[in-house]
Every structure is written in structure tokens, then in C-alpha cells.
């Protein structure tokens, strides 16, 4: 018994303590994140038939993903076209949610004084998440459809001569649905950053003669940077991997990387899907690296 105690005390030296503390999370990460990821990468180099996968180390799947991409230049091949389309949504949704999220968070942090009201308004922001994804998106049809509410009002009021077709099953509809869904992911981290800003700084700014806009731009925005970056990471990763929203709101007519992977999985082309997933992961990591390069999160937090 005593020997065991001595062993333990040797193991838990002050220097080793942090490693033990980090071990549980590291273990979970290793089993549920690193291991599956490693398997995905490994499988992406396998061969496959309709009904089996054959362990191998070949680049066929990657070659297949980029088949004809060089030959077709300057025209874009399917993979490039899909990435360009997905990136376009990424940028649009990111810009809109950033502006919206910042505005809402600013309002909540600086204009709403009582904690009760802050909580109430926060809960209101979560309303989009009260229903299931599918129901939420299907309910856009009666609103934006050819015979939907918006078109009926527009036509009846004489604003447009015929129903607007681009309201639904279009790029516009996809961006709208994304913004509706993901603005929340911007609001929360930005609000979190803002609520930590020392109010004395704002007063100091005003005393020093800054206008309201100058205060926002030179004081609030720089100090909210960690929140802005974290929110951006949320939104960008969610949009890059999404295929359900793009599918439903785009009327399945708009390609997305996620959809290609899903189709490949449904045809049991696991290695090909794995290769696509690895490429997507690379693309998302590249974007996140760029963003964290702009703001040193570790220092700011």
C-alpha cells in the first residue's frame, strides 16, 4: 500500500500535474477525433469496387477528384466549380453574419442595460433553433415560393408585375437561410468579447473627443477581435461543410462539396468520399489558419 502511494506521489509531481489534468480530454480527442481522422486519411488512399474496399496506397481517388482540372483550364472542372460556388457562399454569408452579428451583439452589450432583458433578447435569438432543420427549411417554401406570402404581397401591392422566381431555389435563398441559421454563432462570441470591454475605455474615448463611430471603430472593434474571429471560424466551417441547406434552398440545383461526398457515400465509394473529405478539410484548415494569422487568438484570450 505504502509503495503504491510512493509511486503515485512520484507520478504526480508538480511538473507532471498539468499533463495528468489534460489527459482525459486528450484521450477523448485521440479516440473520437484523431483516430477517425487518421482512418479517413488512410482510406482515401485505398482502392474500391462496388461492394468492397481494398487496402492499398494509391493516389487514384485524388486523381479522380481532380480529373480533367488541368486540361480544362481556363474553364473550371467540376471540383473547382464546386469549391468556387461553396467559397462564394462562404464569403457572402460571412460578410452578412459578421455585420449583423456585430450589430446585434453591440446592441445587446451596450444598449440593453438590464441583465434580464439581455437574457430575454438572447433567448429570442435562439428561436431559429427551436424547430428541426428540415421543417425550418421546408417552411421557407410557403413564404418565398411562387405562390408564397412574399410574392402574393408584392404582386397584390403592384410592386412587381409577376411573382419573383429568384426568391426561392436560388443563391439568394441559400444565403438567406444560412444567415437565418448562423447569425447566432456570430452573436454569441462577439457579445462575449464585448461584455469584457472595460466601460471606462468608452468614456475615455468620448472624453478624448472621439465621435460615436470613431469609438466603435477604434475601441470596440479591436477589442472584439477574438469574438469576431471565433464567430467567423464557426460560420465558415459550418458553411463549407453544409449540404442540407444548400440542397433544400437551392432546389438541389446548386453543387456543394458536402453533397458530392454524400452522393459518393450513398454509392459506397468510401475511399473517393474520404479523399474529397480530406481535401475539404485541407481547404477549411487553410482558411482558419489565415484567419488566426490575422488575430493572435492565444494572446487575445
Amino acid at each position: 500500500m505504502e509503495r503504491v502511494h510512493r509511486r503515485l506521489s512520484q507520478l504526480i509531481t508538480p511538473a507532471a500535474a498539468p499533463y495528468w489534468q489534460v489527459a482525459p480530454l486528450a484521450g477523448v480527442f485521440a479516440v473520437f477525433f484523431l483516430l477517425p481522422l487518421a482512418i479517413t486519411v488512410a482510406v482515401s488512399f485505398w482502392r474500391y469496387t462496388e461492394y468492397s474496399m481494398i487496402p492499398a496506397l494509391v493516389g487514384d481517388n485524388y486523381a479522380s477528384v481532380f480529373a480533367g482540372c488541368l486540361a480544362e483550364l481556363p474553364a473550371l472542372c467540376v471540383t473547382f466549380k464546386t469549391y468556387v460556388s461553396t467559397l462564394k457562399f462562404c464569403v457572402l454569408v460571412w460578410l452578412v453574419t459578421l455585420v449583423l452579428g456585430f450589430t446585434v451583439a453591440y446592441f445587446l452589450a451596450f444598449h440593453v442595460r438590464s441583465l434580464t432583458w439581455q437574457t430575454v433578447l438572447f433567448l429570442l435569438c435562439t428561436i431559429p433553433f427551436w424547430t428541426s432543420n428540415v421543417i425550418r427549411m421546408i417552411s421557407w417554401v410557403p413564404l418565398l415560393g411562387r405562390n408564397g406570402l412574399v410574392n402574393t404581397v408584392l404582386v397584390a401591392s403592384g410592386a412587381v408585375p409577376a411573382p419573383l422566381e429568384w426568391l426561392l431555389f436560388s443563391d439568394f435563398a441559400v444565403v438567406l437561410a444560412f444567415v437565418h441559421l448562423y447569425t447566432m454563432f456570430m452573436i454569441v462570441p462577439i457579445f462575449n468579447s464585448m461584455s469584457r470591454i472595460d466601460r471606462a475605455l468608452l468614456e475615455a474615448s468620448r472624453d478624448a473627443g472621439a465621435s460615436a463611430w470613431q469609438t466603435v471603430w477604434n475601441v470596440v472593434v479591436p477589442l472584439s477581435k477574438p469574438g469576431l474571429v471565433i464567430g467567423s471560424i464557426f460560420v465558415v466551417t459550418l458553411v463549407m461543410g453544409d449540404y442540407v441547406t444548400i440542397g433544400v434552398m437551392g432546389g438541389q440545383q446548386i453543387a456543394s462539396v458536402g453533397k458530392i461526398i454524400q452522393v459518393e457515400l450513398s454509392y459506397l465509394q468510401f475511399p473517393l468520399a474520404a479523399a474529397n473529405a480530406v481535401i475539404l478539410l485541407g481547404a477549411v484548415l487553410a482558411i482558419i489558419c489565415t484567419m488566426t494569422r490575422l488575430v493572435d487568438l492565444r494572446r487575445e484570450l
Binding site: 469496387t49 462496388e50 461492394y51 468492397s52 479522380s64 480529373a67 467540376v78 466549380k81 464546386t82 460556388s85 421546408i138 417554401v141 410557403p142 415560393g145 411562387r146 405562390n147 408564397g148 422566381e165 426561392l168 431555389f169 440542397g247 433544400v248 432546389g251 438541389q252 440545383q253 446548386i254 453543387a255 453533397k259 458530392i260 452522393v263 459518393e264 457515400l265 450513398s266 454509392y267 459506397l268 465509394q269
Partner: protein
């Protein structure tokens, strides 16, 4: 309980309990009184509560449904063949399922109604007339060379791949109130008149066959086999689709049953590929919708029960018992009343009212109101089923859902179409 263990001096409470446990395990009667549970993997289409209840009442078997998508059924058979006892799969999937060696060739001698199964499956005939067999027609994949064989037999054998559950003939659904003229050909799907109001389904292997029906009826090309295209044929078909998409012909593509109902009922789309129960659902919402018979014929599909190769003993017997029950009429009548067709027509007929049989199977005007199995009104008296009788509909089948030899290439081209 063994008499000896009880009351012996110096026996601790724990040993008595152990003895009791051993004694209980020694009574086979208690164990076998437990009802056998069959895990039934399939799409939700056939997995009705009513069928499970009836099986429980008639056979004492517990059916545990595992409802997944068609793709997921194939994935499970290949990757987790021990996770189910009975599977309801589609015939077109067999070309990738059978080579995996995970399904058992079912012994026809143990299937009571094996020789009563409609000739649609065994010979590819309806009422003595040979029907279209392009694609993966069930007769091409119905028999195996042996119980554990991974090869399809050219001539009938004793070993059956799947025992048919349901099948049907698919066509285009239309909104007659918005189109206001007769539709008679697949070519209408790409008619400029319906620009921005047409839809097809975004399931590559099925969507491309609907597209092929259109290409043929436009007179642009005649396929040797629409269900097994060559690469140039795939290119041509996809090009036709891409041109139509760029011209704004399609309002949307759909993948889910409810999406197709939604598109049609809301009027976003007036002509689209559709499934029979989706048409029924649109109609039950009070919106006019016709499952339009077309002169080029139907694209058919069929599903059936298969057994995993690992199934043995009591579970195997119970599975055969369940399948025999399924063919014995009650389930067939239940499915026929939903607009599907059942495998053994005689037994289903015996379980349906004559007026029901006349409406669903003979294409006669309904004598009385036609009700769904749950009692909701489907059609008023006097209505005639779209497409008419069984012989008229199944007899006009042009091709079957299929997996092509060039499947990989086709999927890649389909992704190109979606990205275009």
C-alpha cells in the same frame, strides 16, 4: 429448482442463488416461450405498424423495424451483415449486393407460394406478354446458382435472391389544373412550355433513366439499354440535362418523398418525376394531381426480402415463416390498397373486397369510396385509377431501376450536371 440444493446445511445464500440460476437456465420450455424477434431492415415504405401487429397476432413473431434509406440498406448489407435478420432490398441493388457474398440464396422449397409468384419476376411477363427488361429487370437477378453462390443463374434454379414484397411502375406526375391540356409523352418534361416548372429527382441512377426516357421520346437517340449505358450514352444524356438546366427548365430537383409532394402541392412545379404514394398524398391534400401514363411506358422498380448468410437455427426458420406469411395474402392486400402491387396476386385478391380489387387491379371505376388502410378517403366512387389496370400498367413497363456497369462514371457526370 433442484431439490438437493435447497435446505442443505452450511450452504451460503450465494450458492443457493447460483443453484437457482442454474436450475432456471435448465428449463428449455421457459426460454423457448420467449417470442422470436426478427430485425427487419428496410425503407419505411413497407414497415407499417399494422403489418407488425398482424404478424404478432398470427405467428407470435416480434418484428423490430430498422427504417433507413435505400442507400443505407445497401451500405448495411455490405458493411454490417449481422445487424439484421430480414432485409427488404431493391432488386437493382443486387448487382452490388450479391458479389459481396453476404446474402443467402433462399430455398424455393421452403417458400410455400414460390410457384405462385407473379411471372413479372420469374419470366418478365404480364398476362403472357413479355414486358420491357432494360435495366436491372428482376428476372435477370432472380435466381442464384447455389445457396451460397455469388453468381446469378441464367435459368430458374431452386435458389432465389429476393422474395418480392412490392413493385410498381413509375411515371411523371402532373398538375392537370395548371397544365390544362393532355400530356402523353416523356418529352413533355423538357418542353419549353414548362420552363422553370419542371423537376426531376436527384438520385443519379434513377434520375438518369428518367432523362433517358425523355431523350428517346424526343427522338434524339435510341439506347440499346437505358439501364446500362455506355460512356458516350451517359455523356449524351447528361448533356441534354445540362442544356435544359442552363435554359432554366428545372425549378428544383428533389430527393425526398416529402419534397416532391411539397413542390407539386405548392404549384412550384407542374410536371415532375414522382412516386405513386406522393401523388396520392398531393391528392389527399385536395390538390389535383395525375400520375400520368405515357406512351413510351413506365420505369419500374421492385423490392423483396433477402436473408443474411449468417442466419441460422430458430431465427432462420422464423424468417421463412414470416416471409411465407407475407405472401399469404393479408400483407399483399394491405399493400395493393396503397397503390403498390403484391407478389402473389391470388392470395391478395382473396383478402380484398371485390370492389377494391376491381378498382386497384382491374382499372374499373370505383363502385364505392376507396379508402386507405387507415380509413382515410383516397378516391370518391366513380374514379378510375391513373394508368388503369395491373395489366395495362405493368404490361407497359419499358425499363427497370438499375445499377450500370459504368456506375462510377455516371455518378461523376451526374455531379457535373448538378454543378453546371
Amino acid at each position: 429448482m433442484k431439490p438437493g440444493t435447497k435446505g442443505q446445511a452450511g450452504v451460503s445464500r450465494r450458492t443457493v442463488l447460483k443453484g437457482a440460476a442454474a436450475a432456471i437456465a435448465g428449463f428449455p420450455a421457459i426460454v423457448s416461450a420467449q417470442p422470436v424477434t426478427l430485425r427487419y431492415l428496410g425503407t419505411a415504405v413497407n414497415q407499417s405498424k399494422e403489418i407488425a401487429q398482424k404478424v404478432k397476432a398470427d405467428l407470435g413473431l416480434v418484428i423490430e423495424y430498422i427504417p433507413v434509406t435505400t442507400d443505407e440498406v445497401a451500405k448495411r448489407i455490405i458493411t454490417q451483415p449481422n445487424s439484421f435478420d430480414v432485409v427488404d432490398a431493391e432488386y437493382f441493388q443486387l448487382r452490388k449486393l450479391i458479389p459481396s457474398g453476404n446474402l443467402l440464396g433462399m430455398d424455393a422449397r421452403r417458400i410455400k407460394y414460390a410457384d405462385k409468384i407473379t411471372p413479372v419476376f420469374t419470366k418478365g411477363q404480364v398476362a403472357g406478354k413479355t414486358i420491357g427488361d432494360q435495366g436491372t429487370a428482376p428476372k435477370k437477378v432472380f435466381y442464384l446458382e447455389g445457396p451460397t453462390s455469388t453468381k446469378f443463374a441464367a435459368a430458374p434454379t431452386q435458389w432465389i435472391t429476393l422474395i418480392p414484397t412490392v413493385y410498381n411502375a413509375d411515371t411523371l406526375g402532373i398538375r392537370p389544373d395548371l397544365i390544362k391540356r393532355p400530356i402523353g409523352s416523356w418529352a413533355e418534361l423538357l418542353n419549353g412550355e414548362f420552363k422553370g416548372k419542371a423537376a426531376i429527382l436527384n438520385i443519379p441512377s434513377i434520375g438518369i433513366m428518367d432523362a433517358a426516357m425523355v431523350v428517346e421520346s424526343l427522338g434524339a437517340y435510341k439506347y440499346r439499354d437505358k439501364g446500362n449505358m455506355t460512356k458516350p450514352e451517359i455523356d449524351l444524356t447528361i448533356k441534354t440535362l445540362i442544356d435544359a438546366k442552363k435554359a432554366g427548365q428545372f425549378r428544383a430537383f428533389w430527393k425526398d418523398f416529402n419534397e416532391s409532394v411539397n413542390l407539386m402541392a405548392s404549384g412550384e412545379v407542374v410536371i415532375q418525376s414522382m412516386w405513386s404514394p406522393a401523388v396520392t398524398k398531393v391528392r389527399s391534400m385536395g390538390v389535383p394531381c395525375i400520375y400520368q401514363p405515357l406512351k413510351e411506358g413506365y420505369r419500374a422498380w421492385a423490392a423483396g426480402f433477402g436473408l443474411p448468410k449468417t442466419l441460422t437455427g430458430k431465427k432462420l426458420d422464423a424468417s421463412y415463416e414470416f416471409i411465407n406469411w407475407f405472401l399469404s395474402g393479408w400483407a399483399g392486400a394491405f399493400l395493393n390498397r396503397q397503390g403498390y402491387y403484391s407478389a402473389v396476386l391470388e392470395t391478395a385478391k382473396a383478402n380484398m373486397e371485390p370492389y377494391e380489387w376491381a378498382y386497384w387491379m382491374e382499372g374499373k371505376p370505383a363502385e364505392k369510396d376507396i379508402k386507405a388502410p387507415d380509413g382515410t378517403l383516397l378516391e370518391k366512387a366513380g374514379t378510375v385509377r391513373d394508368g388503369g389496370s395491373y395489366e395495362a400498367r405493368m404490361g407497359a413497363v419499358a425499363c427497370w431501376n438499375a445499377v450500370m456497369d459504368e456506375n462510377d462514371y455516371m455518378v461523376r457526370k451526374w455531379n457535373e450536371f448538378i454543378a453546371a
